[in-house]
Symmetry: D2
Subunit: 297 residues, 4 copies
Amino acid sequence: MHIGFIGLGNMGAPMARNLLRAGYRLTVFDLAAAAVASLVNTGATAAPSIIDIAQSDVELIITMLPAASHVREVYLGEQGLLSGVAPGVRLIDSSTIDPMTARDVAAAALQQGNPMLDAPVSGGTGGAEAGTLTFMVGGDNTDYDGALSVLQSMGKNVVHCGPAGNGQAAKVANNMLLAISMIGVAEAMNLGVSLGMDPKVLAGVINTSSGRCWSSDTYNPYPGVIEGAPASRNYTGGFGTDLMLKDLGLATEAAKQQKQPIILGALAQQLYQMFSSQGHGAMDFSAIIKLYSGEDQ
Amino acid sequence: MHIGFIGLGNMGAPMARNLLRAGYRLTVFDLAAAAVASLVNTGATAAPSIIDIAQSDVELIITMLPAASHVREVYLGEQGLLSGVAPGVRLIDSSTIDPMTARDVAAAALQQGNPMLDAPVSGGTGGAEAGTLTFMVGGDNTDYDGALSVLQSMGKNVVHCGPAGNGQAAKVANNMLLAISMIGVAEAMNLGVSLGMDPKVLAGVINTSSGRCWSSDTYNPYPGVIEGAPASRNYTGGFGTDLMLKDLGLATEAAKQQKQPIILGALAQQLYQMFSSQGHGAMDFSAIIKLYSGEDQ
Amino acid sequence: MHIGFIGLGNMGAPMARNLLRAGYRLTVFDLAAAAVASLVNTGATAAPSIIDIAQSDVELIITMLPAASHVREVYLGEQGLLSGVAPGVRLIDSSTIDPMTARDVAAAALQQGNPMLDAPVSGGTGGAEAGTLTFMVGGDNTDYDGALSVLQSMGKNVVHCGPAGNGQAAKVANNMLLAISMIGVAEAMNLGVSLGMDPKVLAGVINTSSGRCWSSDTYNPYPGVIEGAPASRNYTGGFGTDLMLKDLGLATEAAKQQKQPIILGALAQQLYQMFSSQGHGAMDFSAIIKLYSGEDQ
Amino acid sequence: MHIGFIGLGNMGAPMARNLLRAGYRLTVFDLAAAAVASLVNTGATAAPSIIDIAQSDVELIITMLPAASHVREVYLGEQGLLSGVAPGVRLIDSSTIDPMTARDVAAAALQQGNPMLDAPVSGGTGGAEAGTLTFMVGGDNTDYDGALSVLQSMGKNVVHCGPAGNGQAAKVANNMLLAISMIGVAEAMNLGVSLGMDPKVLAGVINTSSGRCWSSDTYNPYPGVIEGAPASRNYTGGFGTDLMLKDLGLATEAAKQQKQPIILGALAQQLYQMFSSQGHGAMDFSAIIKLYSGEDQ
């Protein structure tokens, strides 16, 4: 199958490479010439513009873009995909954006005969490299089935979340909960340790009790508790604070539109913002525990 | 072994019955005559007062009391245990109280030759009946080893958390995290559903992603997601909102003494207080999701 | 002077009537025919469209619109004001919108020779009727001076807040503080009364102490404390909860763009959202005290 | 009149000096010999112990102590005031403590014939020196009237808040509101300035609008806005962060006992705790704005 791929950033580039590895023919586009060159070296063909990809003989186009404004531009812009793509070509947007924009773009695509899926990922750049991403997919059953094998060459966990936009809805809900849990674990660990607990023993109790969660048993923010977690390597790598902030911005914006109160979610956003404002936006998001540490920030 | 047991409430009574079932000889005391009578019917001996238990030939005394003030009274009061108990008799307090009081009482006990453990439980009245409680134990290694088989006749999970008071520290930290996670799941479920997700599908995504936690995969607050959870039986049974409030009060008080900020923990306390003030203190704590539902409270 | 006025809603209509009263010649437009008819009855001329106002001989055009999207449409739309207005005609937007949009539109206007002010108001429909509004004005000094007498015929307090967009910035900051203060007063009044204070005595103490604020001394949310305040007439009239929610949405959005943490502001937004979701969006915003009352919501 | 005065700390010493200045005969006690010596130099008589003051011929005893535990000890301890004071001697406690303790002690005093007032102050050490404190007084009408002239020699504003304990209730409610307002002003000032406002212009708008409050118009936390405010002298002097933390601890504890939710109040406590934990507990409480500044803390 011939696939078009637009957006070769930290996530998009390794995802595209995994498609090449799986044997797909790939035509790629990115504004950054170096990113394109690197993919071409691995076997992809470069397209001079978005519209060129739309008008080539691709059967499927995947996009991986920074934000909703880019998605609107790439799909709905004057020289965008929908202005030139042939009916029947399938579309997958793996960007993390708000569900409403995802639905708007999918509806516009469908109207001119292009079935579209929203398929945001979790798993970070590590997962993108290793091909172990999780895809949360919104769209029609048939379209989902048709895209499954392609997605599986980039990820190991593909979940169908319902109709268009639901991939984004699932991601925004999950990541808001993740943000809250991580701060909750940070507070619980610091409280327990201040009361005299050994951090590993405390994590052990939590991980076999009702406080058990991914933020504690897999990604504990307390240094030294989990070997290999960002907390044990000075909060480098992992999922950056500013990326979490972006997702929390999507969550609170979606909640506002749905007139849904999200008290801890909104507070989490502000705490990550406070931490980022202190100059730590590039640190892994589990470093939020430092906000509570009393040491010089 | 002859064991004394003081405090035959909703938790203490079934715990005492499990000790009888395991073959221990039991002398009990409670201010409520009916509670005592019920245990005597199952084979226990009634003591007319606390001091009578202290002065009997028990080798071990277990207490299960509502709050720190009762623990101080029962152990340190003029007619309390320490005023009459023979050196060498072992003491276990299974009440949930603050770590500082636990340490004070344990130090006073030790000084007159009575090794003491704090051993608060989780698992609720259901776990107490079934003998499947989790014990979080603080105290000396040898004392812990010596008490293990007795505790195992009342629970299936016994964790040594470190020296005296650490059982309480672990419980307070775990339960604060639980309170936060539960509200986080409530917000995430409501947000996702308001965005068009099916609640079971959303929980499925969360439970295999980074939002995974006990509050979602075992005790999900959204009705119908988990069969058998309180949310699926109108929030009856389970762990009452006012009990969670008590634990959050211990957490914020401990944090104040340790000069440790706990932002989400303090907010969780106030949200449960708001919910309780609306008349829902007896509902399972997962009913906090109703605070977000917009329906008539 | 001949003035164009676009947007004859609850605020715009009485503002326009005050201009007529002050002797200005007025040409008006609104999508609602009845609103236009009512103004025509008082002496205004109706324009069939926005572009007709732009192309008339008005020297000044005032707009009063619900949200930023309407402002963009009315000014920058294909048939919008800037598509037809003659250079030199002055523009004043009194809508409450985000500072960034205000700056974008003002820059576009200036580029084609139309000086523009942002001049959002506070004072509610009562102030609009009575001509006692406060105008917070952003824009050039000369433009401000030139508009002063017109604004003074609609309000009694006109404040120059700096260059374009600063009127909006001032309003968003002030109203966020107002939202926080009102909840603060609600909590303090309820706490004091629960501790045995008479509400009027408590308000008296606060109003002569360091807790003194407009939300306590002028608009106290506790019923019966201030005669004439919405709290003393069942929270009718005044400034609706959903209008406060809109302003808090602008505040948190602006803070997000400026990467500025606003913890209490974000929490206030969610509390008003919770209250609105319970069906109270039309009540005066001081009714937020009911969220704390424990009575049936 | 002969007055006994116990507690000669930063507040008590200047209060006692003002009593001497007003011509009262004074017998004083403090654990710190230097504090006593300093008062004796100004004309007071030293008592060797609390019980000596109780058993002297004083007509009135005033106490100014750090916390509720000291108040209990000084009044109810084995060698405390109530163990020796003659019936009819009047008692005033000016310490800031929880209303419940104030009521307990007042009831115990009354039972043995000693009318007692709780009369906590605001105004800080500056107000204590200058004799311009505000007294918030709880107690009986007659007792209040009888104490008025004595209190007026130490303060310029004396408010009767109702029966015993209400002075403490008023103070706790007012100071919680103050803590919230101060953070609200910090957030609003930072938001407005980040949006391009001049801080003085912004404060000017707020101070004539609905955001008006003591924290903005008298004690603005933004440097340079108000000459003479702690913000304009590096947050030295004024009301220390740790003193505000103590009052917020009393507020949340009282709210817990009254089962009253106080969401912003609890959050304010945690934010001040976070700030204090970063090493700033001695700074004036308006320095909380630094938590939002993004600069190195």
